[in-house]
Symmetry: C2
Subunit: 332 residues, 2 copies
DNA sequence: CAGAAAGACTTAAACGTTTAAACTTTTTAC
DNA sequence: GTAAAAAGTTTAAACGTTTAAGTCTTTCTG
């Protein structure tokens, strides 16, 4: 299929001709570089406006080598965790004059790799990346362009993530403060570092100040494994600490079906504060990840790197907050 | 701050020099255009691989005028409706070789306008746009680049949206089939065309086959207005038809607090099938919008336009499906 | 075996900017 | 009133590609 010619946009040359000056002068005026007399400035600006001039960013980029764009590679937009992150990255980038190419890697390392390759061809000056797996699929690009990893620490990369360990400890503090002494844990997959850290932060803070009645591992989904469901049936703990909000909501649902009352019979607490945590019945107590700050910091750090900041690899972790809601009650 | 020089990437010239041919030949080889002897082809390809050549897409774009990129402007990524749409647009675009600039307009027409302006400077070949308001804030750009509006019909634009009217009618069919004769409506804001259409599709299909006990308007949020809550307190209808899932979930919560059982005492049905509809207790019956199809079609149509398809303005609406879940029951 | 056609490759222009360097005019300094 | 400095403007090269046109060589065709 042949592409039809759109209205050819006016160029610097067009303005130059119209205003009776050279293209260079027009460029100097429009960019505020160089010194140009007031009269010519006005003439140029007026004709630029008159013809509806818009700079051709692509042409500029070939000359300057700066595209003022970055890439954002996420594993799965339909996971409610990521849109807020994407929003923050995009808005911080925009404020710095950068545009964002969005890629949903669909959770595969191949797509991650191919997309990064494509993005670099397109001249992005940096990439914010949330890896789909623990595999370093962008290794080969590290020399080409700065890459900031977000949410999931990966060795050798600048990383911005929530302090999952401290978050777990916060949950422990809260649970202890409410007088719970019999605790159950439905942890996330311990193959994932964030799940491990959350659990560890919790368990270590609990120490011997309470008993962990039982513990089980469950995928980060609202659907519970048979093992988890079995544990719930026999549960005698007064609080169930979950690896994330999906699990927690699944647990709440299961408990509901088992006829247990939340929080009278048993408390539940999650992790992430996804949108629906506040809307469940009762509201789900949880740990809020600073998603917006995460995105902002990732953008900011990436742009510092782009600007040439050569500091050693940064590993930034951001504090989390416990959000107390109806699902969490004092032990009786 | 001074930008440090990243490793200068090898260019066509570098390969040409290395392989002892002209840059043109290298281009011909790598693009598969032109005719080049097998020997030279191999030599060129080998050196290209050896030096780790990647085409400079920006330079190519200045010459060809094609950036192979599109823009996607959405009002609010944190609304769970949009990520799935974004995902579909991006993935369809990628399959066609296009990359996607994502912009969250934060619901303001100024950001919409400014972003579109910026995107066009950046040479996007088209824009998929979900308008934040009913205001045509991109009017001035219509001549510059094809624009496809998604989800919210706007005159003079190619539009892809769900068939809200038909969806409303489907709800009516379902409700009638289950024998309900006393109906309540919590419609969305009737200033919004999609809310209007849903309501109208429903009401017209109901006709005189059932009574509409009461009706109220509520914002598209889970928080219910005082008026809505008052109506719910006195409700005697056997089914409550809601303008979207947020409203429906709010209604379910309110009914729960009023001690009404769903669906034994009263059924509830929503619209959109957001992620949480299936996870509420009971599951929320609703109408599924084909978000993925919506995004795919939008991408596809936009790319057709980019390719020069000059057909008159298209107004495509996609069929919806009723999803029956626990919140909807036969009338007793 | 001559002429034409095809094949292989190079040259050079073009895309729309930016920017260093050159040139011209005006201002400043003494 | 002249030399030097500053201000204003133009020229031309450069960014890394693509591609039309040109050149040279080989292969066909009759």
């Amino acid at each position: 299929m042949k592409k039809t010619q759109r209205r050819n946009r006016p160029t610097l040359q067009d303005i130059a001709r119209e205003a009776g000056v050279s293209a260079a002068t027009v460029s100097y005026v429009l960019n505020g570089t160089g010194s140009v007399s007031a009269a010519v400035q006005k003439r140029v600006r007026d004709t630029a406006k008159a013809v509806g001039y818009r700079v051709n960013h692509v042409a500029r980029a070939t000359r300057t080598g700066q595209t003022l764009s970055i890439g954002l590679i996420l594993p799965d937009l339909s996971n409610p965790f990521f849109p807020e992150l994407a929003q923050a990255v995009q808005s911080a980038a925009r404020e710095a004059g950068y545009a964002v190419f969005l890629v949903d890697s669909e959770g595969t390392v191949e797509t991650e790799r191919d997309s990064a390759d494509d993005l670099i061809r397109r001249g992005v000056e940096g990439i914010v990346w949330c890896p789909a797996t623990e595999h370093d699929s962008l290794e080969e690009f590290r020399g080409d362009v700065p890459i900031v990893v977000v949410d999931r620490p990966l060795p050798n990369y600048d990383t911005i993530s929530s302090d999952h360990y401290a978050g777990g400890a916060l949950v422990a503090d809260q649970v202890l403060a409410l007088g719970h002494s019999h605790i159950a844990i439905v942890a996330g997959p311990q193959s994932l570092s964030r799940a491990r850290q959350r659990r560890q932060g919790f368990v270590e803070r609990i120490g011997d100040r309470a008993v962990i009645d039982w513990e089980v591992e469950n995928p980060f989904t609202i659907t519970l494994s048979d093992a988890t469901q079995a544990k719930l049936r026999d549960n005698a703990a007064t609080v169930i600490v979950c690896g994330n909000d999906f699990i927690a909501l699944g647990v709440m649902r299961a408990l509901h079906e088992l006829g247990r009352n939340i929080p009278e019979d048993v408390s539940v607490i999650g992790f992430d504060d996804i949108l629906w945590a506040r809307h469940s019945i009762p509201g789900l107590a949880t740990v809020r990840q600073p998603l917006t700050a995460l995105g902002k910091e990732a953008s900011a750090l990436l742009i510092r790197r782009i600007m040439g900041d050569e500091a050693p690899v940064v590993n930034m972790s951001l504090a989390t907050d416990v959000i107390v809601r109806g699902s969490l009650h004092a032990a009786n």
